[in-house]
């Protein structure tokens, strides 16, 4: 498949994530949309990794070009997991105090 398809797919996923973050009011769903954004990036990185490997393979049969893209994906997954643990802890802390995860409820700081 041409690389463009992957780019379109991951851009679509990424945009869904962004729209979700901007419009949804439930903290958990906003959080899921952020995860969707990160996973769109993962998909794109793997696709690019394969693409760069393919082009390098044409000149050198034993090339490892493009391997760093896939390595990056593992780092993103690890960091996302760390972020999830902190984020969920913050949401639980908020839920304990106001018994809701609606982010509109939190508007005290504006004035």
């Amino acid at each position: 498949m041409p690389i463009q398809y992957y780019i379109y797919l991951s851009l679509a996923l990424f945009s869904i994530g962004i729209i979700g973050v901007l419009t949804r009011r439930n903290a958990i769903i906003v959080f899921m949309c952020i995860e969707l954004m990160l996973n769109a990036v993962n998909l794109l990185l793997v696709a690019f990794s394969k693409m760069h490997h393919g082009t390098a393979l044409a000149t050198d049969a034993a090339t490892t070009a493009g391997i760093d893209g896939q390595l990056f994906v593992f780092f993103i997954m690890v960091v996302a997991a760390a972020e999830v643990s902190v984020g969920l802890a913050i949401i639980v802390m908020m839920y304990r105090n106001i018994h809701s995860v609606d982010i509109n409820f939190l508007n005290r700081l504006k004035n």
Partner: protein
């Protein structure tokens, strides 16, 4: 590499010292000793006396500039811990963990001052940010702290998503994560301006602007800085922000060529917006803490000049600016934490009830406003001089000077409240040691204002 390894280790040490000792006030001394160790090992690294090196395969490269920035940041943290350490103890029950998180932030900072590829940029930013989300929410029962933590977290991870998309585009265009990778046409050696590369750089620019709170991506800053416990706002607004700028400059020093002349246009729009929104909104604030949050946006506008001109004067300037701005802000926040009332009226008559506090606060405010004989003056001078040296953007300097004049207004409102208004500014009990360290910090601000070469010489020797 010394700094990265030692700061991570010290974070673990702090966590364990929380189990081993029940006495909370010991912890800040352990942290202070740890910071001194960190400074010592980082200086040894700078002068190649003792180097703990791991072959990072080009992911990290430590130059003199980055290492020297580390030293300055650690020294500023040391001053912060000495001055506000006893207030960190009051922020919550898990004191040891707060110090541990501060060390982890410093680990992220030392990665950011030496990254050589997008992987380390990403990891550095995350190691810097994730502990800060926790510190922001450390006041668990306080709804404002909760709100600030949630906002900071959602905005921060959203930005991370944007940054990663930028990195993915960059990788797609160049086939590499290294900092100086440019998509060149092999036959001519010219830069191939591909959509992916330019789009990736723009996404990275947006993400980094978020992190350093440059307008129009600044909207989270006032809420987060206002809601977070004041001790941690002090840390966030100073040392962490300076680290963000170092990363920003490092990233775009090599990559800005790919954007061509558009780069300077985009950047000058961002600078002017940041100066405008930061300064004008700060004028209308009623709370000093919120005013300082907006003033930190305005100061970010000045720090962006280093990115704009990125010549040798700018590199000296950003170091000087980080130090001057950090010291003054740490000082003001240390005083602010002691106040009972955070509004401007809360400062009424402080000069009568507590002249030492009022006098030192005045010096810090003068330094932030950039009045001569304080460190802030030369910091602003170097920034503007670097733009003039670069040439062609004199109008930008004039705009900056105008906004610097605006900033004098809201800084002087605090001074006016302290000296010329009657009232009973209530403060928490203030120890003699605290007063002495405030006076020493104010003296340091003035000494740096007269001899800025103290900072700059360290860069060359």
């Amino acid at each position: 590499m010394n700094a990265i390894i030692l700061s991570a280790l010290l974070g673990v040490v702090m966590m364990f010292s929380g189990i081993l000792t029940k006495n909370k006030s010991v912890l800040k001394y352990i942290a202070a000793v740890g910071l001194l160790l960190l400074i010592a090992f980082n200086v040894m690294d700078t002068y190649a006396i003792f180097k703990f090196d791991i072959d990072s395969r080009g992911l990290l490269s430590f130059g003199k500039f980055g290492l020297y920035f580390n030293t300055l940041a650690f020294a500023a943290t040391f001053i912060y811990v000495l001055l506000s350490g006893s207030d960190i103890e009051k922020a919550g029950i898990n004191v040891a963990e707060y110090f541990a998180l501060i060390f982890f932030v410093l680990c992220g900072l030392s990665i950011l001052s030496g990254f050589n590829g997008m992987l380390m940029l990403f990891l550095g930013i995350e190691i810097l940010s994730i502990p800060l989300y926790i510190l922001t929410g450390s006041d668990k029962r306080n709804l404002k702290s909760n709100e600030a933590a949630l906002k900071y977290f959602l905005m921060g991870s959203f930005t991370t998503g944007i940054m990663l998309m930028g990195i993915a585009f960059f990788y797609g265009a160049t086939g590499s994560f290294t900092l100086n990778a440019l998509p060149v046409i092999p036959t001519t050696g010219m830069i191939n301006p591909s959509f992916l590369h330019v789009g990736g750089l723009l996404l990275l620019f947006v993400a980094m602007s978020f992190k350093v709170s440059a307008a129009p991506f600044h909207f989270w800053t006032p809420d987060v800085y206002d809601g977070a416990p004041s001790v941690f706002t002090s840390f966030m607004a100073t040392i962490v922000k300076a680290a963000g700028f170092i990363a920003f400059i490092r990233l775009f020093q090599t990559q800005a060529v790919a954007l061509g002349p558009t780069w300077k246009i985009i950047l000058s729009i961002v600078i002017i917006l940041t100066l405008l929104i930061g300064n004008i909104t700060a004028v209308f604030q009623q709370s000093v803490k919120r005013m300082l949050a907006y003033s930190s946006i305005a100061q970010a506008g000045f720090m962006l000049f280093a990115l704009f001109s990125s010549n040798d004067l700018a590199m000296e300037g950003i170091l000087l600016y980080s130090v001057a701005y950090s010291l003054a802000t740490i000082g003001i926040f240390a005083v602010l934490i002691k106040m009972n009332d955070y509004t401007f009226d809360g400062f009424n008559g402080l000069a009568k009830s507590n002249p030492v506090l009022a006098f030192t606060t005045t010096i810090f405010l003068l330094s932030l406003a950039g009045i001569p004989l304080t460190a802030g003056f030369f910091a602003k001078y170097y920034m503007l001089a670097s733009v003039i040296k670069e040439g062609g953007s004199l109008w930008l300097v004039i705009v900056a000077l105008f906004f610097a004049a605006v900033s004098v207004y809201y800084y002087f409102r605090v001074i006016q409240a302290m000296y010329f208004k009657d009232g009973d500014a209530g403060t928490a009990p203030i120890s003699g040691v605290f007063k002495l360290s405030l006076v020493l910090l104010a003296a340091l601000v003035i000494v740096l204002g007269i001899f800025p070469s103290i900072i700059l010489n360290g860069f060359y020797f």
